[in-house]
Assembly symmetry: D3
Homo-oligomer: 280 residues x 6
Amino acid sequence: MAYYAFQHFTVRFPPEHQHVAHVEINRPDKMNAFFEAMWLELSQIFTQLSTDSSARAIVLSGAGDRAFTTGLDVKAASQGLLSGDAATDPARKAAHLRRHIASFQDCISAVERCEKPVVVAMHGFSLGLAIDLSTAADVRVCARNVRFAVKEVDIGIAADVGTLSRLPKVVGHYGWVKEVALTAREFGADEALRVGFVNAVYDTREATIVAALELAAYMATKSPVAVQGTKEILNWSRDHSVQDGLRYTTVWNSAALQTQDMSAALMSGLQKRTPTFEKL
Amino acid sequence: MAYYAFQHFTVRFPPEHQHVAHVEINRPDKMNAFFEAMWLELSQIFTQLSTDSSARAIVLSGAGDRAFTTGLDVKAASQGLLSGDAATDPARKAAHLRRHIASFQDCISAVERCEKPVVVAMHGFSLGLAIDLSTAADVRVCARNVRFAVKEVDIGIAADVGTLSRLPKVVGHYGWVKEVALTAREFGADEALRVGFVNAVYDTREATIVAALELAAYMATKSPVAVQGTKEILNWSRDHSVQDGLRYTTVWNSAALQTQDMSAALMSGLQKRTPTFEKL
Amino acid sequence: MAYYAFQHFTVRFPPEHQHVAHVEINRPDKMNAFFEAMWLELSQIFTQLSTDSSARAIVLSGAGDRAFTTGLDVKAASQGLLSGDAATDPARKAAHLRRHIASFQDCISAVERCEKPVVVAMHGFSLGLAIDLSTAADVRVCARNVRFAVKEVDIGIAADVGTLSRLPKVVGHYGWVKEVALTAREFGADEALRVGFVNAVYDTREATIVAALELAAYMATKSPVAVQGTKEILNWSRDHSVQDGLRYTTVWNSAALQTQDMSAALMSGLQKRTPTFEKL
Amino acid sequence: MAYYAFQHFTVRFPPEHQHVAHVEINRPDKMNAFFEAMWLELSQIFTQLSTDSSARAIVLSGAGDRAFTTGLDVKAASQGLLSGDAATDPARKAAHLRRHIASFQDCISAVERCEKPVVVAMHGFSLGLAIDLSTAADVRVCARNVRFAVKEVDIGIAADVGTLSRLPKVVGHYGWVKEVALTAREFGADEALRVGFVNAVYDTREATIVAALELAAYMATKSPVAVQGTKEILNWSRDHSVQDGLRYTTVWNSAALQTQDMSAALMSGLQKRTPTFEKL
Amino acid sequence: MAYYAFQHFTVRFPPEHQHVAHVEINRPDKMNAFFEAMWLELSQIFTQLSTDSSARAIVLSGAGDRAFTTGLDVKAASQGLLSGDAATDPARKAAHLRRHIASFQDCISAVERCEKPVVVAMHGFSLGLAIDLSTAADVRVCARNVRFAVKEVDIGIAADVGTLSRLPKVVGHYGWVKEVALTAREFGADEALRVGFVNAVYDTREATIVAALELAAYMATKSPVAVQGTKEILNWSRDHSVQDGLRYTTVWNSAALQTQDMSAALMSGLQKRTPTFEKL
Amino acid sequence: MAYYAFQHFTVRFPPEHQHVAHVEINRPDKMNAFFEAMWLELSQIFTQLSTDSSARAIVLSGAGDRAFTTGLDVKAASQGLLSGDAATDPARKAAHLRRHIASFQDCISAVERCEKPVVVAMHGFSLGLAIDLSTAADVRVCARNVRFAVKEVDIGIAADVGTLSRLPKVVGHYGWVKEVALTAREFGADEALRVGFVNAVYDTREATIVAALELAAYMATKSPVAVQGTKEILNWSRDHSVQDGLRYTTVWNSAALQTQDMSAALMSGLQKRTPTFEKL
């Protein structure tokens, strides 16, 4: 599927940054709030980029001045999911909900499964799903005006598309995670930086996106064999013991170390020039 | 068992904070040092609060000016445990010690198992068991005069009722955890705040408890279905892979999303008023 | 094997610090770059110290002004491993690489397996293997002039002797780990301190080593039963659920609590004197 | 997608067995050997049946007298995968192979993920992929003339779409699994029955399919809430500790026990009649 | 609590078998069907026996000719649990059900947690809870007339107090487990023996109990340090990797090998007499 | 180290079986009982064979008519370990015991870590360590006169070099494992065959060894890439979830599928001749 065919997202390959894809949530009039068709699109985009050799690193941002995303479009969601469910048996409703949540989670996890690194640039309202989505990415940066919140308890539910599983593994300060998840209170750029939720803060939305693109572009200059292996092994290690992490690395690298990128990288290192790597 | 019947703890429901229980360790003349009867009581209290629908959030603090708790009452402990053990066979002693430690751990873990969020407010000496106990809670705050230490190596043992398992999952800075656990050195409020052991520091014991109560009270205004689900899923996720965390969340929310709290929360959100939630 | 027999390392027991071993990487003319014989020696040294009762805590540093270590001696490595492999079948090459990586990892893990706490003092260039090695230790400190980098992607590979498995468990800020591992960019002492990669920063190489020795010496004054139990339980807990951590602690302490160090520690605590502990 | 639209499979709902779907591999002239389009179809079919309320239990069999399936169509596979890969860098080839294997595995796992129980009826040659496929199902039965083999080592590879992960969890006799996997030797119906690979043996292909349909039909008379919960919890428990299995069951049944099927089942039990259950 | 104080169980120490406790479910007029008070009693009994040094091995059987137990007393259960629940919010009902199931599971798990080996002797109807209960024990034997069934799907639910988590780890034949759990069909003594659900079959209820007592008595002649360690390590190993099993064993035996039972056992072995072991 | 240099083992490469190594425990006058030097030798042998390309499959048997091995040489052991330990502090004794057990386990695990399949041929007394050792191997066969026992409880200890962790994963009948481990009773060839502890029974020691050699020789005719991958993936899968098993397989085979053995195997299959595979 061609990238221009996506309705609620724009995907471009900025000419000034080789091998970088820039994905933008594009529903600014609704502050980029998500409904089901959107997370299905999101999943398709990241699945496609995962094996598109034009992209070696990806930036995700939100269109419009006001919000990265305000999260779930609650109105759309409530019309869809629950009212559409004719079942009256709570066990059958539960079965339908399980299918629905699992499918939703799977779409968000496409960002994590994507073989290329993903940098998320956030600004303005970045609520609920914004946290789920950005914790599935690799690096988070934000604008000074960002307003984050793990908003779900404010609509009577526990967050269920990733925040509660990933945020505590993204941020070391577990008491802080508990506090923001149990209160749904907002937090801003400085606090996000201090606890390690974001890597850097920039003055404006534009500056944030530029910085994200530059970071992605820098990653894209490195060997894609090395970069994609690094992302995968880090994610595997997060979920396994050190021993299992080491073993997986061994098996992974038993193929990866046979790459020609090693000599390309070493050679260009000696020759002080930028190496070129075959597509992957 | 009525709450006033506990000997070494006071349990009250402050009228100014709806649905908040305030548990206080009440042995100030011994700086709230613990002996066996006390951790058994502690366990009973948190087990009872776990299903008491009057409580939606809990604060734990220590009575008296000098200490949250100095930890294990070593004198009482040494009279009890080891001198009371007539066994001379080291394997049999080990069996008795296993039963003893497991029972002690289980009492402290009652704080973690409690379905409601627990905020711990610490001041003054907060040694040894103070760390075990507070890492089993959800949020930690402290007074400026607090003096923390993972004190156990100073009495010739490795901490064994939770600190060594929970502290590294509460604080992201693993080298710091190693240092304070291997040296038993004291650390104060600023250091605790910097490494993320506590969420906030207040000027006095009183201010700390007030702030903890307010935080708990704020959590208690939220849907108990959402809050209790959030606590449970966060704790499960800490001990599982992201994939297992997501799946557990799916199954959990397949029942929880059927709650009436969702529409109550949404409606009161639209109407800019505080929602009321059925007891749980 | 006598400690003086090691070629690329010096091992000394500084007389001013009882029970402390000081291991120094000693190939300063090559900025302490590693080749295979060196990591085999490293492993022997830490395996031997692990059960040498003269050592209760260990410091690891690098000789020479310029570098703790610049990591793998790429020239030596490329002559060895890949050029020496006559196999042309990629599957057979992979088998050889697996054996090689696994053996290399096992050598580095000797630092983690060592029963005594290990403090690493770093200065100057501390690249690649420096990160693998130091994350296998317990506490990291550094000099102001340190220049760290997870350098591996710059030579076309994913780091494979520990960094990708251990660094995210040493530092809570996962986005930062992703960034430095995916870009190979340098970071200095301040950043290392801020994210919790090191516990402290000192002005010079000498001051760093002195501070490391003093920290180790302080650990060495504590009960070795308590200290070694604490290291082991912390490492086990990192890789297991809290429940499994608690159970392991129970079984461990069922023997350890029978130690005479408890009464020695308590007694000397009452008598305000430094306890003496039997060798271990 | 309508079931008749599948090219290499037939899907029918036998009128004599309510709520049973019968899926048949339909490439008898090639002894039901698989190529890529076929496992993609297989996955679509089982994904569709998973949420198709007409099906409460499923039978999978192979058309033609000679084989359930001889496994991978090696000729088709070798034309596709390896010859089609222009990459010469072994690390890049490895990346392509990983994507290919993961996608293939995911298709086979659709049988396991399918929410309804799957009974596999095998006869004649049932080699390689036959084992991968049938171990992803719930119950295996076979005809007397069946000829099983974990055939992969005979084509120079380790089985990689499930057999090596699932067969040891399906059959308790681990030494037997090792033997048949390391030798690729054939085994027949009696041996398969003795080690517990199949639940029953029937005289002919037809008798086997009839028996499988009857077993599936019997399962389909039971509450779908109960049956689907049982399948899911059994699969979860296989991969988790007993403690985690119990907890998952608790959370699952907290919704499922609210079903009306319980009273329907109890009532019809008392009244000695077959209960009717709402669709799921 | 004295053992005679239990209402629905008898606990005796048969004089002819030293150190053996015989627990009998004693509600024969209702075919030993369980209601809540009974599983609470069961838990108390096994918790008490766990640390009662008079008991070194335990037999569990059912009174009356007709049944070991027919499982849950559905009538009592339906009056209790669901009708007693005034909540109408499905999420709140789910919370109550979770507490109820978790408490029920915990009672059954008391058999597994009991430090002494438990042999279950079954006869007649042994349905539903009979399977949950007996899989939490160590060894199962039965009378020829036994009628087993994983009965739960027949009452519209997935079994939730242990069968689905433990049965697949007790019996290697996973397809058989799936079949009996998904159909609720009965199976008898021969089938139970063939698949390894029971260790032996005896002609009558009496003969079964006698054999169970003799087996328990034989275990009770062995070193309790060795026997209880063996039970614990086997249960731990079931839920962990071989590597974690080995490590746990190491730590366990570091205390246990210091027992005097080793020399007592060796000495009496040389002297061809039955050793006597200190109580545990 | 040359294979003839081993003192208590003979290692030969029978000329009639290409690529097969035959290791024999060679202390027949003591019924092949083990003392420490022997398990150190055993470990060296299997570590060496693991990477010796002359060996593609290995047989392990015992010299002399009477025993495969009677297990630990208790006399030698008791002189060594415990009497040699001057420590009186139970915690220090425990530390020494941990080191000792861990080192012993590591030696036995060398059989499991060995990259080539290992077939164990047992006869006569095969007690204690015989079970630990043979469960670390891949396939077990035995002579009719074999006398097995998990003997450890008879000397007052829980088995600690592997049996309790591996036997339940080798044999599906968990109740039987519990029984033989808790009673130390003997079992013979028929019972071992019935429960799946051995793959086959032969009339004499000689016939057993011949059969083991032929089985090993048959495995050795297959692609070593395929065979060694199969062993490794099966062992990994035993200790991981199906999902983790599948993923590990994917990564493993991404290198292994690049082997020339695939075309060699396919070609010789078409040409009905035995393929030749490059050494590994």
